[in-house]
């Protein structure tokens, strides 16, 4: 099986500064790949290149190749909107749209032309169940998404991303502002979700990567230092810098 996401000699420059250098990394289908590393190591930039959200930064340019399911993400012919539906993203800070819980989830399907109320109802319930939020909000689907707590908002953002039926789920420090219980719910959802899709989990929390991911990659200052099965990487890191980071000597 070819990797679902594959970076080859992939580099990113923003305003002339190299933010990522020669990254070679394949994400396997139906795995949870954790990406750890200190702030400024390029983890989030890597994630935002997979769905081309990096385009919002006009001075961003890339070298090498990055592909999603075999097609080059940065080729000029890429339908960016379609790409973003295939690689759905959840952000570090929960960002529900200023509309109801229901409408937050229906947003993506409506863009694709889904009008049927029954179909939308079904999507809303299914995705809210998948993100472990249904029981908490099923009686108030039409209240504003902004009225939810931070942890609930983040699960709503997960649900609306799932409504796109993505192949890859890009999670950008999804639990950085959440309490342990909400964090546990999101991790629970991930384990269930990886049966259908692939998860790339960027996290500042080394313990979360150790707990939740199948494999882990360590990024440092724009470089992908090493990647391996989570158990191996945390017990027998090959690189001294990885060892220093996971044992808490810096970062």
């Amino acid at each position: 099986m070819t990797p679902i996401v594959e970076a080859r000699q992939f580099g990113v420059q923003i305003g002339g500064n190299a933010v990522l250098r020669e990254v070679n990394l394949g994400v396997r289908r139906n795995e949870i790949l954790g990406i750890i590393g200190p702030a400024g190591s390029g983890k989030t930039t890597f994630l935002r290149c997979i769905n081309r959200l990096g385009d919002l930064e006009p001075s961003l340019s890339t070298t090498g190749t990055l592909s999603l399911d075999g097609t080059d993400v940065f080729s000029p012919g890429t339908d960016v909107a379609a790409l973003r539906r295939r690689a759905g993203m959840v952000f570090a800070v929960p960002n529900p749209l200023p509309r109801s819980i229901y409408e937050n989830i229906a947003f993506g399907p409506r863009l694709m032309g889904t009008r049927s109320r029954d179909r939308l109802d079904e999507i809303v319930e299914r995705t809210l169940r998948a993100s472990v939020l249904w029981d908490e909000v099923k009686d108030r689907l039409h209240t504003s998404g902004l009225k939810l707590s931070g942890g609930q908002q983040q699960r709503l953002c997960l649900a609306r991303t799932l409504a796109l039926e993505p192949q890859v789920l890009l999670l950008d420090e999804p639990c950085s502002g959440l309490d342990p219980i909400s964090t546990a719910k999101i991790e629970e959802a991930m384990q269930e979700l990886k049966k259908q899709l692939t998860v790339v989990l960027v996290t500042n929390n080394v313990k979360q990567a150790a707990r939740a991911s199948d494999r882990t990659a360590f990024f440092l200052m724009g470089e992908m230092v090493e990647v391996g099965d989570t158990g191996d990487l945390f017990t027998h890191p090959r690189d001294k810098r990885t060892n220093d980071y996971i044992s808490g000597r810096f970062g």
Partner: protein, 284 residues
């Protein structure tokens, strides 16, 4: 501490001076204008269609002027709002940084052009154009609307741009990440989120149009009549005051102040609505 108190008090005094000026102006206009309205009869004053201040006995009906102000303002909005909102959306959502850096100050320059210059351009260029190509005397509702439509642009654009820019970046990112295109994001996320500020922009532009005087006098013809077509000349409330105040005396002068009272009420109402809408919009 003592020094702090002294400074605080003098700053308070300075801050109060603006409010005091407002209070003085309000009191003066009301004191001069309100009695004649009630002496003459509110209904007759507001809805009378004849304005013959020098007849014997004089007739003071401002309805034609209210209609004139309304027509010219509505026309100005019809022209200025689409252009203004369109420009604001372009500047805030689509313009490359370099373009925005040139355009925004240029628009602010537009706000700095004295209104008499707008009126002058209208008289020399626009009115002959209307007369030749569309008919009528040239000086008209249409002429006033076109000039005012341009004059309200800086107000509409700068407030709209502020409203759009205050929409959190995270909303846009969220929408893009859900597969929305640039325009879908603008239409479905950014504009609804900025709704309050955009409505405020339109209402403040409306206030600007209702209050403008010099340019309007120069291009609307100033005939007291209820306009029956966009090409009819009209007189607005503001024009009425400016044109007649220099020679008015006695009850005529009071009636002009009363015209001011009407304007004052309209502008206050517009500002209140603008503030309320902007505040409600922020809460949602």
């Amino acid at each position: 501490m003592k020094q702090d108190n002294a400074i605080r008090l003098s700053l308070l005094g300075l801050a109060m001076s603006a409010v005091t000026a407002l209070a003085v102006i309000t009191t003066f206009i009301l004191k001069e204008g309100v009695p004649v309205i009630f002496r003459y009869g509110l209904g007759a004053f507001l809805f009378g269609t004849e304005w013959k201040p020098t007849a014997e006995p004089p007739i003071f009906g401002v309805f034609a002027m209210i209609a004139g102000s309304f027509a010219v303002t509505a026309g100005a909005l019809a022209i200025g709002v689409p252009v203004g909102l369109g420009s604001a959306i372009f500047l805030s959502e689509f313009a490359p940084k370099k373009v925005a850096i040139v355009l925004k100050p240029a628009l602010e320059l537009l706000a700095g052009i004295p209104s008499v210059v707008f009126g002058f351009m209208g008289m020399l260029v626009l009115l002959p154009f209307i007369r030749v190509h569309l008919g009528g005397p040239g000086a008209s509702v249409l002429g006033g609307s076109a000039i005012l439509g341009i004059m309200i642009l800086p107000t509409v654009i700068s407030i709209s741009v502020d409203a759009l820019r205050s929409v959190p970046r995270s909303y846009r990112e969220g929408s893009f990440a859900l597969g929305a295109t640039g325009w879908q994001t603008t239409w479905r996320v950014t504009l609804p989120a900025a709704r309050g500020g955009l409505v405020a922009a339109v209402i403040l532009g409306m206030g600007r149009a209702v209050g403008e005087t010099m340019a309007v006098i120069m291009v609307t013809g100033n005939t007291v009549q209820i306009p029956h077509s966009p090409l009819s000349p009209v007189r607005t409330l503001t024009s009425n005051i400016a044109l007649e105040m220099s020679y008015a005396s006695g009850e005529h002068r009071e009636a002009l102040f009363a015209t001011g009272v009407i304007l004052f009420v309209i502008i206050m109402a517009l500002n209140t609505v603008a503030n309320t809408v902007a505040r409600l919009g922020k809460r949602a």
